[in-house]
């Protein structure tokens, strides 16, 4: 590694760490009436401090970072695996699967005895939204893998992912047509929200990151080899189906957890690796981990802004990530720096 590369990576890591620290503080200070450090100090001395900061703002802030980190990690893995800078973590049917899971639970009461049996309705209502979204995401990826007949071919995997996405979205629309009451809940899910993140979410997301980050990092050399093309990677002794299965499993777990806790947060997974490569081009080992950091920082920033921009109302965090992330990608395209 050259000195310049070392400096770039160090600068990026320090920059992300400093921004994260700043945004964590801002996240604790941001309340329903905007955010101020004075207000935070005043509130910390009040009897409600434990409840508001300890039970609402702190887990929401940490949860936002963890969700973004999982999406950033999954985005870098997806872009490396599919050798496509426009690949995002939702590509393999996880988003539409999670969406269908949520819609089914929301529509349970309307469909009970009509579209679905009472027994199924009972099971669905017991599962809860978070579990349904997680199960749906994994199911979406599972169907994609089945349709692609495993992970032998990247193109087949991508095509299967697109088809599964379209079919599951259509099913989801069919359910909401039969049960229009589920539409509002579905909309909240589709826009993404960090408002419901509690400590239990943080535990689930944190454990997910502890599993997925080392897994993606350990397999990153395979992603480096894939930059030479699939045939060259195979000639270097890589068992590509096994590599794909390991990385798709990590991808599915990271995306499924993030989506189940915060809905479909747009663009974080797509943009984070681009941000990292823009500031510190590096092999995938560094890029995947730094993308997790960038994703966490990006979603945290969006969460703080979402709470503060039109306080006491909140902007859906997915709208902000789409605006921030999409804007950045457009700027990159304008400068022709997308690689």
């Amino acid at each position: 590694m050259s000195n310049l590369d070392r400096q770039r990576r160090l600068r990026l890591v320090l920059g992300l760490a400093a921004l994260t620290a700043l945004l964590l503080a801002a996240g604790l200070a941001a309340g329903s009436e905007g955010w101020s450090v004075g207000g935070l100090m005043q509130m910390l001395n009040s009897p409600d401090a434990t409840l508001i900061v300890g039970q609402i703002r702190a887990p929401r802030t940490l949860g936002a970072w963890l969700t973004g980190a999982l999406l950033g990690l999954a985005g870098a893995t997806a872009q490396g695996l599919f050798r496509n800078p426009l690949a995002d973590p939702y590509l393999l049917g996880s988003a539409s699967g999670a969406s269908l899971g949520v819609v089914l639970v929301l529509a349970t009461s309307a469909l009970a005895g009509h579209g679905i049996s009472l027994a199924t309705a009972d099971v669905l209502s017991r599962i809860g939204l978070v579990s349904a979204a997680f199960a749906g995401a994994l199911l979406g990826v599972g169907v994609t893998l089945t349709l692609a007949r495993g992970a032998q071919q990247t193109v087949r995997l991508l095509l299967a992912g697109v088809v599964v996405g379209v079919v599951l979205s259509a099913l989801s629309d069919l359910v909401t047509t039969a049960a229009p009451d589920a539409l509002r809940g579905k909309q909240v899910f589709m826009l993404g929200s960090t408002g419901f993140l509690g400590w239990s979410s943080c535990v689930a997301l944190g454990l997910g990151l502890l599993v997925c980050a080392p897994l993606s990092w350990r397999w990153s050399r395979a992603l480096d080899a894939l930059t030479l093309g699939e045939d060259s990677a195979r000639s270097l002794g890589l068992d590509l189906p096994r590599v794909r299965i390991a990385l798709v499993a990590s991808l599915a777990l990271a995306t499924g957890l993030a989506v189940s806790q915060a809905g479909l947060v747009a663009f974080v997974g797509l943009v984070s690796p681009h941000l990292v490569r823009r500031f510190a081009p590096a092999p995938h080992g560094f890029t995947t981990l730094a993308s997790a950091g960038a994703g966490g920082t990006l979603l945290l920033a969006a969460d703080v802004l979402a709470r503060s921009l039109i306080a006491p109302q909140e902007v859906p965090v997915g709208v902000l990530t789409a605006l921030l992330g999409g804007g950045y990608l457009l700027w990159l395209l304008h400068r022709r720096r997308v690689v």
Binding site: L236, G237, A282, V339
Partner: protein
């Protein structure tokens, strides 16, 4: 270095409607063998089959008398190094990081590089004259420079069998000659080097030649073999002739002849 025995026996490969290989039997021997033939003759398909990248529809490819598919991917990777015809290389890796990928079959995904791996990488970069820009990224290089880096990546495997598909692509004449010398050195070390070449003058510098047409091997022999020369001229429809000038065989275009 003694190279293991690679053998393709009655190998047939069907690509869509095309019979890309038709019952080809070929056993490359230590030394440098060049495969020549018109477009679509099956040269690259034969090389891919020998590398284990193309499963034959009929016939077998064996390495040391064991079917190639029975070798573990890594063990096969340490024995056979392969260079693709068209570089798909992309991404943010530096030249040195790309060449280091050649050590993957020895290291696997999870082992840190050892001193001998670094030495193999240094040697490969030295042989291909790309050590000077080892910190540059692949997308910052010209086509010829990239080709030298990818060749260094193949050399860094230090495999006894080298399969190279059009290794002279994008290379300027001095580097084409440097490549020929490099392949000759590899052959002298006991490696089995097989390269597909479209540059017929360069191909005639190989120890042996294989002439292919319509998915079959139509001639095989030493570069001085007159029967091989006749087959060589025939598969190109008489559009070339082979002459000996200054002690070397060269091909001359027959402009008055059309296929």
């Amino acid at each position: 270095m003694s190279a293991p025995m690679l053998l393709a026996q009655r190998v047939s490969v069907q690509l869509g409607e095309t019979r890309a290989l038709d019952q080809v039997t070929f056993a490359p021997v230590p030394g440098w063998t060049a495969i020549v033939g018109p477009n679509g003759a099956g040269k690259s398909t034969l090389l891919r089959s020998l590398a284990g990248l193309q499963a034959p529809d009929a016939g077998t490819v064996t390495l040391d008398a064991r079917a190639l598919r029975d070798w573990s991917a890594r063990a096969r990777g340490t024995q056979i190094a392969w260079l693709a015809q068209q570089s798909e290389a992309s991404g943010e890796l530096t030249v040195r990081e790309v060449v280091h990928l050649g050590r993957l079959p020895h290291l696997g995904l999870f082992t840190a590089p050892r001193a001998e791996d670094d030495a193999a990488v240094e040697q490969a970069m030295h042989e291909t004259e790309c050590a000077l820009w080892q910190q540059r990224r692949l997308h910052e290089l010209s086509g010829g420079e990239r080709q030298r880096v990818l060749l260094a990546r193949a050399l860094a495997v230090t495999a006894p069998i080298l399969l190279l598909d059009e290794p002279t692509t994008h290379l300027d004449p001095p580097h084409q000659i440097a490549l020929v010398r490099l392949l000759q050195r590899q052959a002298q070390r006991g490696c089995t080097v097989v390269s597909v070449l479209h540059d017929l003058a360069l191909a005639l510098m190989a120890d042996r030649l294989v002439v292919m047409d319509h998915g079959r091997i139509v001639a095989e022999g030493a570069r001085d073999d007159p029967a091989l020369h006749r087959a060589f001229v025939d598969v190109f429809g008489g559009a070339i002739r082979i002459e000996r000038i200054g002690g070397r065989w060269i091909t001359v275009p027959q402009l008055e002849t059309s296929r």
